[in-house]
Amino acid sequence: MEDWTYEPAQDLNHDFATRLKGFPREPHMWVYALRSAAAMLIRGWLRTYHRFRITRLGKLPESSFVMVANHQSHLDAPCLLAAMPLRRLHRTFPAAAEDYFFSNLPRGIFTSIVINGLPFNREAKGAQSLAVCRELLSTPGNVLILFPEGTRSPDGTLGRFRSGIGRLIEGTDVPVVPCRLIGAHDAYPKGAWIPRPKPVHLIIGEPLRFGHLPKGRTTVQTIGDTLHRAVSDLKPESNVDPPI
């Protein structure tokens, strides 16, 4: 008789704190339930308190893709998550700086359970974490949310894009969706304690593909520049708002 093959969870003998940081995360029934409930609460809160609106200029790809956006506030990741259909919620991973979002237990619990954050190690140019991201994108249907500025903008202006996004995308045909958040800085700037009831507007652009470019340093630069321009070109008045 053939032996059965078992698939023990990878994080079986890890303690709670290590399991939070571990990636890819093992699917967990209770976590999914909590995350779905939290997502609906957050969406309701964003819509009422921040009068959150989404303008969609393009359709989100059904395959795996990367969402890039300007980074002004801790509201950014919840806003981008709110743009995803609930069925894709558990497969959408905002990259979250490991040194900040996993630095203590309550933050780690929030980041991994509610936000589904991917622990991103910003040291050594993130080479190791980029490998994790690449692996993630190789599974169809996964979505990676990335803030190429690497940190929140202190004054709300769009900063320089780091090379990470280019190095992640070069040589692949993974679609990248540029997004722009307007108002998040006023609503919840860096250093503020509680969010203010200011409106937040999310504009989602057309997906871009870079598969035709050869691998190399110039391509990394081109991808970064193209996306930077695409994000800053998204203007609020460029389209009529369809219903959310």
């Binding site: 698939e7 079986l12 003998n13």
Partner: protein
Amino acid sequence: MMQSLWQSADPILRAYTLGAVILLVSAALLIWAVALLTKKDLSGVWRTYRGWLIMVPIAFAALWLGRTATIVGLALIAIVGFKEFARATGVYKDWVVTGTVYLGITALAILTAIKDPRTGDLGWYGLFMATPVYVIAALLAIPVFRDAYKGQLQRVSLAIVGFVYFGWMFLHLGFLTNSHHMYGYLLFLLVAVELNDVSAFIFGKTVGGPKLRPHVSPNKTWGGSLGALCVSLTLPWLLHASFPHFNWHELVLTGLIVGIGGQLGDLTISFIKRDLGIKDMGAVIPGHGGILDRVDSLIYVAPLFFHMVRWFQGIH
């Protein structure tokens, strides 16, 4: 208030609570003294001790809160225990199968807590014993409803083993709460099973002898096993006050069930873990591993003890 609570409590619960406090304090003093005298690093021992320091008060809190809290606590252990098993085997990835077993365990807890509608006795005995029929029927129907067959036998089989062993057999312990002697039975079993484990370890280290089951658990020896059996056979006589209505043959049977059943329970989890290729079933209790690593012996002992008691004394 505290005093009246203490005085109105079951004398057996009071005695065991006092014993647990004394045991925890003296264990701390002992470890501290050994650390001081031998100057060895005992951080691993302290870790295990801290685990006990969390588990023992939780267990006693549930018992002091009474029958319902105890049933709920045991059902939670069964659910987390099954979850560990499901995660270790991979069944957990099938949420319908896992959820069905969770529902089955919840049903067991409810059946334990309510009255038998026919007789009015606490705990619906007949349906509790028949629960596996319905859970197994439901589990086997899942692949049919799905219209899928690939790998379905494996997950359904594993779920049945998991439900019957970690859910149903373990929750016989919960059904004991329907007895007038609930505190005596439960506390004796908890203490006896732990002492059985500890004496197997101590006799194994001091007496040793040939290996008990070299493939399943290479560190256990015949010396440890027989030493533990001797301790377990004496214990019912020493703690006879837990069940004053027991005759001599019930005391002997209790000793045999704990002494042999406890070790078989331990070895059962060992072979399961070895087949799965894992070290511990989980990591919920620091210094102890998973919840199943802690209650392994109890699972095996609980139903055997329950049916022995029911046969000779009735359960109420």
